[in-house]
Symmetry: C2
Subunit: 842 residues, 2 copies
């Protein structure tokens, strides 16, 4: 007798859309869903026939119904009897939250560290092979190219076979799951194994891929598995739904936190990326777990003698006195705006590649058949271009991501001749210094090549993220701007008193934060950057650049994660933005579906059956009568199915037959009926079969087939009587007494604005809401209608609805484009003027 | 015709409890509320009689009703006509959010800077007076003491006279306002002036008071006033309720951000302190405004030649290589736990002082009469004790908060003799170095004295916060621990390779973050500390200490702001915590009020009148009939009043009289009635007068007095007929057609758990919710019941409900104290063992 049995009936403010499907390739989600559903349905149908004509299934439905009835009985009496026991039990649970979070942090830190170790080992192995073969260029090339191709192909194949859900970043899926949608198979052990091993191989190959997004998924997997494990160990509390969501959001923070050893940034980033409304009371959970995880992650490095003490991952050594001058701020602002455009371009390019491949039918077919060819080809291309003796020499091809970042964040200037000689003490700098080519050319080539390479590489069907590559490109771009500034002002630009030279490394830090912020639409990359570098001296430039980059990127494109959500067609509600005045014009009555499916208090079982066979809604409205239409509540489909099943149950049928037999004195039919478990002919109603392509209709179909099997198994003399009995039963009025009704489904008024509807839907995680007028049901709004309205398909007054911060964006053919663009220009102009003014005054 | 006219009817998911009252002294809120309400009622009554027997009032009610009826008519047709105009208009508004935030940031930065300047000037003036009189100790003492006493007394008096709402921190009030409760007079220009001037004087006095809490209030005031200003300039959009809330939460971030020049920490702190559920889409607003504000704030310092470039407020210069060793972590953890206990003690002490003064009736009466005596006495005591040549010499009495903090965060060690000689280059260090007394004694005295002084000083009726004093005490405590560590390990405790000495300044930083985090129950003080010092090198110790301090403090006491909310009895919903398993046992049916006041579709106006005269609810439930009890919706009190007013209106009465006159042929009474504007005898129904101690009943009373006045003015021959007519009118059935009904008031089910109820109430900012069973109204739950249930007054199963993180707290006489304490000990033991293990292994 645990606390969770007192939990409220789920589904009132949680949505449980069970999306199943094998996610074969990036973006191939919805296409295969129908096919999969059909197969699944066929499997279930066969199984149903095999296990005795649905009888066992019928029993399970009935036992479930009995459970639900049991639930309806007052559990309070029972509860108060064992209240004291219960209480003690519960209090002993209180510490489990802490234990859970500590365990989660520990496990994730270990996973992160081991994975880093394995990745470093893989990269060392490649270098060793490459270095050992320096006598023969061809052999060297083959070694350089084969190694990543093998690793990526293995990663893609392994993931494909074990758990296709492990493909990609995982943040879009986590966002959807935390929204309340149950994505099956996304939080299983198989997926965990596939993700961890696939990710290690993918990163070990040295391709421009990141580990941040997948780490969010891995941490969530860890939390889900730990929950299950602890539930098995301690009992039911860990299965509670609300609690699981709380733990999952903490896990997301842990994922980012232990990936970058950035607890604060991790918490904020995970909130920004996955949540719409955040419960502040869950805040500490993420902080605690992420701090613990980051601590252990860095302590492991100390124990392994990699570090002397706990420090930042990419520690910088910028000077503390006057790290930047006020007059450099316009440069930082320009860097931020440029990064905003760059980020939008990245998201656009990434989506373009996926959509291009999907549209080209010949490519598409070929790639679908040979799934490992695409990653192999991409890897071959990328590694050929980065081959150090080849083109790679112009773009620091031999450096890993980590080495490149360390070099880019360096506090010395590269372009000035005098300082360049100091390069020798860390070898990484040589890569940027080509004897024939300027350091500017190297940087520009690096940025351009890495840009499209990252955009392409992240579309490969392996577990991978895009944060780290984008971060690296941003750092390189920032470095470029910094070097240009240093070349323009070789003595620094401090006006009064002491003069300090420009620090291009600071620009690299700013650029990294701005570009990654622009791609992910987050502000917290600023905090991540501080924690990564261990220095907060550039806080102001970083904040300015990140905010400007966000403003620009959000005006042009959705975030990378939202873009993937749209590509994968995951069920998610888009965001409403700040320019939401126009949403007051759209009201619920404009978007609602007026043709609501409902049942009345006077409905017969026949109505019920028809409703179940033709509709596909998860819940149905219950109204008083067809005339008054007063909404009494909503009933779940399952409940109605069990009602129908009870009415036509085997038990009642037997009873009727027994009565019949007593009347007729012929008892010889009963034994054959009672022991009837041999396979009987499957359902013959073709229209039912035709309709049965959805899982949700299984219950009804089984019911029909039960009727059939029972009907066929008794002798034909009785069958007509049974048919008559059935008809009679179906004509009876439905008895709702034993049925679990949600008496307070969410109701809206016709006048409710779209903005308010959106807020309520996202706050409560609603799936649908009824629209009533004086208690009378007049319509229904579901997530689908809302999404359409927000995305602008339904625009009553012709005003498009916009994403957050995108006050100036207008993707369609609106008439206001010119005004909007002008406003956009104006705003940027104002900012520029302001900075100019600042500069003038100083 | 603006967008806001399409906004949904307010009050559906916003609460509008109009709490009026003069907040005379700290904590004197509820006591005076009743008195104030009575006075207000008397004033209104007198006014009502004076302006023509309530006739004008009655008209205003009717015109309001007409407005509401206007609202009910479909605005869509009208809207679509001017849709294109509207659209253009709205799009030109889009940039206003930016402009608003920039203006807000600018204004707040200026306010903050000017205030800092004024405070510094005040403190300089005191020092100059004190320094100039060093020949005569007595004169010196008088100067030292008089100055703050005058300033504080002025501050208290000024605030008292102009706007008593400006007293105190303001964060509790902002938390309540952001919860959706309208606190009148808290966001007016008067309050702004009183708060700014009062705060400047209070801080200029040199008392241990902070400016952070008041700054949150000042920023909110600024935002509210700017909103009004821009609404006057541009039109209605700025008056939208949702938008105002968004802007207020951004303003809170600006307040903290420009106070400390800590944008990120400011945003996080304001979220933690004021919000329960945070909309991530509003996140950027706070970030942008706070960054801009902090930028301007620091730029002003640069322009004023105070700083060379933009840097942190309390810049530290700890070494970057190995800022702390892994083996120092247990010391940091102990520091964190001690700070947790200290924080809880501070909150307890603060509450104790207020409650003590309140209970002691003689003190209470005296203080109420002479309101300026209490602050003057407290100031006299504190400044006497800090008098530098007196006791102040042992506790660095002559230093201001800023100077003390700079000294405490210094990166050199004080206790070691060799380093102590370096003190001379910044004069502040001399204060800590007494010739006869050890630096440890100075620090301990400083901590103890400042601790109780701050707790007492923050109870003074002046605008003041407690964050900064607590921060300072924390820094001193951390310094003490650091100095002890440095004395214990004079050569540092690094085991392998190079040895670095201990940095006591780092301990000071950790202590400051931990103690302020413990008092306010926030984690984001860690971020504030990084931004204040400009160094993030101590991130891990700070995070560990802050989390441990929070865990301990939350287990023992509410946060300071929640404590003030309870003392002031502000309408606020307490938090549910993590140990919320037991809340699944309490269900809505256990706490709901079963005696719901309702009206039916068949109610007569007489029922309505009775309902309005006896009840005090803001909204009433409308059910179908007394038998079915099917909930149709809820009606606001105002609506019902206007319904009643319409039924018995002057107009209809006149019409009736005209009819009557036509029937009788006597038209001589009419002129006297039509021009009746002389004061008539006031209402004589004593029972109505007795009941009329609440504002909400004004409408009904005016109505009754209107009846009376009209009745008395006509000759007695007609009066009986009118009385009859009235009775007849009252017996008529209410016509709800023209009434604005909320058709979807929030409904809960009897089985809904307390946890879920709490979540829904806080998410939607509800005031009350009806409990229904199959559409039948069975009860009502309001914020009051919920608060009682959460605070443990109603515990059906005997389980107490706990605040966040307070898994181990049990403030009452529960039977589980022993278990709880054991668990508590166990948890701390586990942590200690872990750290011990860490230390052993290294």
């Amino acid at each position: 007798h645990t606390g969770s049995s007192h939990a409220p009936p789920p589904g009132i403010y949680r949505r449980e859309l069970q999306v199943e499907g094998t996610l074969s390739m990036y973006g191939r989600y919805t296409q295969e869903l129908g096919v999969y559903a059909k197969e699944e349905a066929a499997r279930l149908r066969d199984g149903g026939v095999r296990d005795g004509g649905g009888m066992r299934r019928n029993t399970s439905i009935r036992s479930r119904a009995a459970d639900l009835l049991e639930y309806e009985k007052d559990p309070c009496a029972k509860c108060q009897l064992c209240a004291s026991r219960c209480q003690k039990f519960l209090i002993s649970r209180v510490g489990e939250d802490w234990i859970f979070l500590i365990l989660l942090g520990l496990v994730m830190a270990l996973v992160s560290w081991v994975m880093d170790y394995a990745i470093a080992f893989c990269q060392e192995a490649q270098k060793w092979m490459y270095g050992g073969l320096d006598s023969n260029m061809l052999l060297q090339y083959i070694a350089w190219v084969t190694y990543p191709v093998v690793l990526i192909t293995f990663s893609a194949g392994f993931t494909q076979i074990l758990a296709p859900q492990a493909v990609g970043s995982g943040i879009p899926e986590m966002k959807t799951i935390l929204r309340g949608v149950v994505l099956k198979e996304y939080l299983t052990f198989k997926t965990f194994v596939a993700k961890v091993i696939g990710l290690t191989c993918a990163l070990g190959s040295g391709m421009p891929l990141g580990k941040e997004g997948p780490f969010v998924h891995v941490a969530s997997l860890c939390a889900a598995l730990l929950s299950k494990f602890m539930a098995a160990l301690f009992g039911g509390t860990f299965m509670n739904e609300l609690r699981n969501t709380e733990m999952l959001s903490a896990a997301c923070a842990v994922g980012v936190g232990c990936c970058f050893a950035a607890p604060i940034g991790g918490v904020l980033f995970s909130i920004e990326v996955t949540s719409t409304f955040f419960a502040v009371r869950n805040y500490w959970r993420g902080f605690f777990a992420a701090t613990f995880s980051a601590f252990i992650f860095r302590v492991l490095a100390v124990w392994n003698q990699e570090e002397e003490t706990i420090t930042a991952l990419f520690k910088t050594r910028f000077r503390l006195d006057c790290p930047f001058d006020l007059q450099e701020l316009p440069a930082f602002a320009i860097l931020g705006i440029a990064c905003g455009f760059g980020g939008a371009l990245f998201v656009y390019l990434n989506r373009l590649i996926v959509e291009c491949m999907r549209k080209q039918k010949t490519i598409n077919k070929f790639l679908l058949r040979k799934r490992l060819v695409y990653p192999a080809l991409v890897t071959l291309l990328v590694s050929t271009l980065t081959f150090p003796p080849g083109f790679g020499q112009f773009m620091a091809g031999q450096l890993t991501q980590h080495e490149s970042l360390v070099a880019l964040f360096d506090n010395r200037t590269w372009c000035r001749q005098g300082v360049a000689e100091e390069f020798d003490y860390i070898s990484h700098h040589h890569a940027w210094k080509h004897p024939q080519v300027n350091v500017f050319i190297t940087l520009i080539l690096f940025i351009i090549m890495k840009f499209w390479m990252s955009a392409v590489a992240t579309t490969m069907p392996v577990p991978c993220g895009a944060f780290m590559p984008v971060f690296l490109i941003g750092a390189a771009f920032g470095r470029l701007v910094g070097e240009i500034m240093a070349a323009m002002f070789p003595d620094g630009i401090h006006a009064a008193g002491s003069v300090y030279p420009i620090v291009p490394g600071g620009y690299a830090v700013v650029g990294a934060a701005a570009l990654s912020g622009a791609v992910t639409h987050t502000v917290s990359t600023a905090v991540i950057v501080f924690e990564l570098t261990g220095q907060i001296s550039h806080i102001l430039p970083v904040m300015i650049a990140v905010i400007l980059a966000n403003a620009v990127a959000q005006a042009l494109q959705p975030s990378l994660y939202d873009s993937i959500i749209r590509i994968k067609k995951l069920p998610y509600l888009p965001e409403l933005g700040m320019g939401h005045h126009e949403k007051y014009n759209i009201r619920v009555e404009d978007i609602m579906v007026r043709d609501v499916r409902f049942i009345t208090l006077n409905s017969s079982y026949r109505d019920l059956q028809e409703m179940l066979l033709t509709g596909q809604l998860k819940t149905l409205a219950l109204v008083e009568s067809r005339d008054t239409m007063i909404l009494l509540g909503s009933i779940e489909r399952l409940q109605l199915q069990s009602l129908l099943a009870l009415q036509l149950s085997h038990q009642r049928r037997l009873e009727y037959l027994r009565l019949l037999a007593q009347d007729n004195g012929t008892q010889d039919h009963l034994p054959s009926l009672a022991t009837d478990s041999t396979p009987s002919s499957p359902c013959t109603h073709t229209h039912v079969n035709a309709l049965s392509n959805s899982n949700a209709r299984q219950g009804v179909r089984f019911l029909v087939s039960t009727q059939q099997s029972v009907r066929l198994s008794v002798s034909s003399t009785v069958s007509s009587q049974i048919a008559e009995w059935e008809e009679q039963q179906l004509d009876e009025q439905v008895e709702f007494k034993n049925c679990k009704i949600d008496p307070a489904p969410f109701q809206l008024v016709e006048q409710t604005s779209l903005h308010k509807t959106h807020t309520i839907f996202s706050l409560l995680g609603l799936d649908h809401a009824y629209v009533t007028s004086m208690g009378r049901l007049v319509g229904v709004v579901s997530l689908k209608e809302l999404r359409k309205a927000i995305e602008g398909s339904v625009t009553v007054t012709g005003v498009k609805v916009r994403p957050p911060l995108a006050s100036f964006r207008d993707s369609g053919n609106s008439t206001n484009v010119s005004e909007v663009t002008e406003l956009h220009k104006l705003c940027i102009l104002v900012l520029f003027l302001f900075f100019y003014w600042c500069q003038q005054i100083l």
